[in-house]
Symmetry: D2
Subunit: 358 residues, 4 copies
């Protein structure tokens, strides 16, 4: 089902980039969970554009309005609904692109699927803007998980040809991640920013890789086979536009490794079963083993680039050239960091509900 | 939901490695689809062990018995149920491992989750053997897709430190894949086999990467956000034990690329919209664009290795050493190739049913 | 899942009686379906209070605002979201009832389930007001079904001890149902209104039974067992507050009948297979047979009555007496008629999508 | 989804009347629940034919074989699979009916839906025989509920024009129900048996009504709107062939009642909130109030009658007459009693899992 996610909770996301409002409903949440609106706003601000030199200067107020399900600072048990009104809709920017699909965007596939009925301005329902309601849901789940001692944090580990340090997978340094630019060190941040600036200077864009860690999870979360932690995280993370690769623990490096370098020996610490290493990313047989869950996500470069690109006029069949105007992020990876956290939070909270629902 | 998959069809897989039988039910399949039992058996044989020097010499007859839903060589419209009786169950091999979880296996997490009630012999419900019923479902879906002109094929592109050619992503050479050992060239096969033999000689194991292509898909399959082709394929593929990374098109290489190297220019061929390249792996905005769908899957090394490994006795809390006995595949990647095809077939057929159900 | 319905479409309803807004999201709807907002408003007005002497004089503007998924008078293929702002919220009326649950209402069960966190004013998420967003979804589905030649209409067949004619189950007289008061004849309307007036005069309320017919359905809709037409209609209709009985065709009279009076003989009409009678209500084995689908729904009397009732103070444990103040419908059956149609429309449209999705 | 049920557990039923085997898979069940096979067999025997004079003399061994998910007398946490081999398959009896659909059966609708591909002998997937695997699942759930102090029992309250006593809805007399013939008194049993004998003597059949009670349920089970106890019970109960009406508490009598006769006053008993009456059947707002849940189910007369009936030859279009041969139950109501209990048990256990999953 397209824009709906979850086994125990049901997250439904709606909206188009330039419609009246975007929003989400979140059903199946127990009553009495605290909602800190300021903390949520801070979280949403991390995703919002215009926060730094490395993103688009468009200004959008990602201010959620709760319509239902939250009362006196707590969940009521009824479905939560929250919306963000769209204030900065300039559909004129996109008019000339109507018949000429932008390479790398969903313009063409949406046209095929919806036969011209979609509200295509700004990417319509496929816009990266739809990650804002995902961040409302994820920001809430993140708060609720934190009250249980479960923390989620992500950072950038690659932009183009520059690489940063990975988390210590036994003790992910969540508090060391930069607030302005989410990397583990200032040097990495500088190197990544240089890479982004270079892409912008060339009228181009650049991709990257994000690593996310979840700490404090008990062992025993997740289900075998299609309900495993990997399956459930991957399903929602692939719902974020531009995600093209998701891996857990050693991830694609498992292909190069041999078994003795891939298994994690068991040990104990204060009477608690632990593993000496954490190559599996905290998941065995789809189920958490009590170690931090670690996964990485590859984000493709922003498809909107000012370099001329070949496309086809769907009306005339003519091959033509377009330049995508407007001010676009030369790299969406920094803004995608909280979105990956949000997606992980929704997935994990859904799995926690497997165990305890009220 | 653990062992159940699908939006339109419902695949439910059951069984333990050493139980009475393993099997699957497949609900939601239209009536009148042809079932070629011989072709299905050939497909299952590709997964079965003991087919070559590079896999385990255990002999298992993966012969499905259809209990329901198939009559006179066609689906009846009622749920399909098929089982494979377990014939070669030697639980004695596993007795000493009961309290000492094997590193890299689900022994410990299953113990935590199921509190000792699981039927753990041979990996229980977490055994790779459970991919046999997945191959029954996938083998059927593959047949039905082929009747619509949709083909699915996979091959190995990496074993340890050896790499093979990728598919031509515009025209995947499905017919060129080796029948005995699934690579594009005999030289690659030899290199991969040498890597596997080396691992076996060392009492170790080795991982690898599989690439899968789906051709003949119309544009417009898939849904936005969480119902996208990537989400739905990733969810089921991560249900295959040992899968730790799933990527689409350029996959993790998108992190290194710039936008002008990542977008696919549009063109036309015989009046049909095409793309000049296929870096996106045939999917834009979660929806097929009519080009081949390409994805890759990283398989971790078999966790069962004969090298001594550290573990913990869950009863006594003592740190101890185990050697996993029994005859195990030093590399499960070759046998995983048809399983990846099967998973893709189920996911794609489920998505095809989005469009046309009877 | 509580407030979410559907297999192919996903309807999610949110809101509390006295919250900011109530609304719905409807995911999985094909693009290009026409939306007639005026017709929808007319449909919603049938449910709204204050339309006649026989309902509550409260004034609420049930004016839906579409936030997403509808553009230029058509569905876009993206999820539809629509809300109705609450304008007439007088929570003061309910303050004294906080600790003393009203008999027949969900006050007590909500208190147990949500532990005092629910937004209880006016019934909270359990309010009959939540049928307004159901009518938005159902009103849309009704329009789309009508374009396929499928019509849905309901009328009242019983209020208290007064009975009206049933539909001719071979040719339900949908056009004969009263616009102001939904009965087949003016005499029936008068009798029913007298019954309602009598209840009001006594500070009491009265229940009734609604019959609903769906015409123009092709044979072959529905699935065996739990996906049958009966199961799917019953599931959503029981989501309407106050519904306590749902039956199909002869309904509870099947208990009294013998087989020869219950079966419908087959015949043909213009080369089309028909049945001579329609006792089964158009459904055999959970699947439509091409005859009108007929079902009836029993609505319990409004639990809000001004007569004194015994309740318990949940804080003190004291037995006490309450009188439910405020202006309440002495009979909600007339207003429930379009709601039953709406529920049926959603269920049927969901089932139609089993066959053809785009 | 046709033959699959459940939110937390997933029950999938497969099989055709005269196929190799019928069976079920039950996914999502916690590990460590005790399975008493003998008690299950006793439960299944209540449904089996040939138990008394009032049912068909066919002999079928409803002996379940557990293929997976149960080990050493307990659930393992993995999906449970159980089958019953079909031993008494006489497809010859049904050959002449192939083209001439039996009135009241699903022959015609299955033919339309499955285009002649269904395995129609004995009713195929629509056969009442499919209630045997439902009774496996329900029998297990019933055992698990009993360990929690939740009991489920049903009895017959109407056969044709004869009526029996209802349960005391405050304290349903579950232990008073007859073991051989499920009524509250021997007199009622005799009257019902006479009614059945009369129908048989006339080559006809007769319907009836079953009442089911669930005791020991805590308050707070169920969800608002479409996930209410009524919705979830109705959905599965309507999956039982021949069910045409389902009602809760006063059921269809709510239509006749006024509010003061319909509401249940609150009181307390040993510090526990109770209601003085139980007209609502233990459910308010879709959620249990701690009183017994009471519902009734109307079963239509067996459509297989030996009286000649008019049908149509689907090949030739000719109107013709058939007599349904074979030995059929003149009344399936007695055998449906445990099936209603089974359906209720599955629904209730699924709802219990809302609250506590492991």
């Amino acid at each position: 089902m397209s824009s709906t996610y979850g086994e125990n909770l049901k997250l439904s996301i709606f909206g188009q980039s330039h419609g009246v409002a975007i929003g989400m409903t979140l059903d199946g949440i127990p009553a009495g969970l605290r909602v800190d609106v300021d903390e949520l706003q801070s979280f949403l601000n991390r995703r919002a554009p215009g926060q730094s030199d490395w993103s688009t200067p468009r200004k959008e107020e990602d201010k959620p309005e709760f319509l239902a399900g939250v009362s006196n600072g707590s969940t009521t048990g009824a479905p939560i609904a929250a919306i963000i009104y769209n204030t900065n809709t300039r559909s004129g920017d996109y008019d000339n692109l109507k018949n000429c699909p932008r390479p790398g965007h969903a313009d063409y596939t949406a046209q095929v699927k919806y036969g011209g009925f979609q509200d295509a301005a700004g990417g319509g329902h496929f816009s990266g803007r739809l990650t804002a309601p995902l961040c409302i849901a994820g920001g809430l789940c993140k708060q609720w998980l934190e009250e249980m001692g479960i923390r989620i944090g992500a950072h950038i580990v690659q932009i183009g040809s520059e690489y940063g340090n990975r988390f210590d997978c036994l003790n992910p340094q969540l508090d060391q991640v930069g607030k302005i630019f989410p990397t583990l060190t200032a040097e990495t941040a500088e190197a990544f920013q240089a890479e982004i600036s270079k892409a912008r200077a060339q009228g181009d864009s650049v991709g990257g890789r994000i690593e996310c860690a979840i700490t404090g999870l008990p062992a025993g979360i997740g289900e075998p086979m299609f309900g495993g932690v990997e399956s459930r995280i991957a399903q929602i993370v692939y719902g974020i536009p531009a995600v093209k690769n998701v891996g857990f623990g050693l991830s694609d490096s498992f292909a190069t490794a041999c078994g003795s370098e891939s298994n994690d020996a068991f040990t104990s610490e204060n009477g608690q079963v632990k593993t000496v290493t954490n190559r599996c990313g905290g998941i065995l047989g789809g189920i958490t083993n009590g170690m931090p869950v670690i996964f990485d996500v590859t984000i493709k470069p922003t498809p909107s680039i000012s370099k001329p690109q070949q496309t086809i006029n769907l009306q005339t069949g003519e091959i033509t050239t377009i330049q995508v105007k407007g001010r676009h992020d030369p790299c969406i990876v920094p803004r995608a960091v909280p979105v990956v956290e949000a997606a992980a939070a929704v997935a994990i909270f859904d799995m926690i509900l497997d165990m305890k629902r009220g």
